[in-house]
Subunit: 206 residues, 2 copies
């Protein structure tokens, strides 16, 4: 596509570097901004620069933060003896939105993956082990993806921490709430038969 | 969605004001920028501000421009006696990309639409009439949408300029090239039977 205008071309190029936005959508964004008051573009631009300049990672849990220690780690109303181990800050947001967890987090930054070239040292596993050893941690909850890579990463961490007197659990796997049985995949269905729960316990979930 | 972070919330809010981007995609963009080097965010932000500050509208044809008169209007290799009347700058880009037109443009800024509250004074019709009267214009080509509103806008302009010795044409309507006949809509098919062209002329198009 030829825009006959260097400024538009630049802006379209920069916008189309973003995930999920092609040249055509980028042009739509550009023409939209041109139609709106200047203040909107200034606001957008400033929020992006501020975001990138000021966001840092919590030195304790590696969640995003505006301060060296994040709001969750600083909060007095949260249980600091429980750590929920997640892959990414997206996962922290997802779990926070359920309002079902009131402990602390630890963001690994991914899982070990030979295919993607992610090794143990790329993740914050050493820091997690250190936290467990130094802080008064009673329970660790693995809230990782249901993949081979995530499972083996969890197993590696489990092995590192086994000697501690620590309760280690992982997320329940099974049929998602609201799903119809006939559409569940075989593996999940099979596993959830094996891992069936006492009927009285199912009331707690609903 | 709760992001637990004011900077992320601000950025997501600003990004999700853009067309075609919801909160979830905006968050993806934000987390992507956080993972990339700072220079990418700076480049994006700067290109947007520059775009909004420096882009202006050509005083002659109302196309976007970096100078008071746009590159197309200034070009010596283009035929200034032909004006292609379009609704928007997107249409200029679309026609430029065909490389089939070497005249000048006139961007109306929309079409008259009582439903959307767009009246004649919102458009650049007065300026178009002035151009035709003052400049040496020989042909006017309407390249507008195929809608009732566009048709009546074209008709209004046609009435204003009828007294001039001016060739006025409009885009050919018919079956799009490459389309299968059975999928063409009835109206287009019917019209293209009525407006059939001599077989020899069809060679010029292909």
């Amino acid at each position: 596509m030829n825009f006959n205008n260097k400024l538009i071309e630049n802006a379209v190029d920069e916008i189309s570097k973003l995930p999920g936005i092609g040249k055509r959508s980028a042009l739509r964004v550009v023409l939209h901004l041109l139609r709106q008051p200047k203040i909107q573009t200034q606001g957008l631009s400033q929020s992006l620069v501020e975001l990138r300049e000021k966001v840092q990672y919590c030195q304790n849990c590696f969640n995003i933060s505006e301060t060296p220690i994040c709001g969750i780690c600083r909060s007095h109303s949260r249980d600091s003896s429980m750590i929920c181990v997640v892959e990414s800050i997206e996962d922290v947001m997802a779990i926070e939105n359920t309002a079902q967890f009131k402990g602390h987090y630890h963001v690994l930054g991914g899982v070990v993956s030979p295919l993607l070239g992610i090794v143990i040292d790329d993740l914050t596993i050493v820091q997690l082990v250190e936290r467990v050893n130094k802080q008064n941690i009673k329970e660790l909850i693995f809230a990782l993806s249901s993949t081979v890579e995530a499972d083996s990463t969890a197993y590696y961490i489990y092995k590192q921490l086994q000697k501690n007197e620590l309760k280690i659990s992982t997320l329940a796997r099974g049929i998602p709430l609201g799903d119809e049985l006939e559409y569940a995949d075989e593996l999940t269905l099979g596993r959830s038969i094996i891992a069936r729960i006492p009927f009285e316990k199912s009331f707690e979930i609903h």
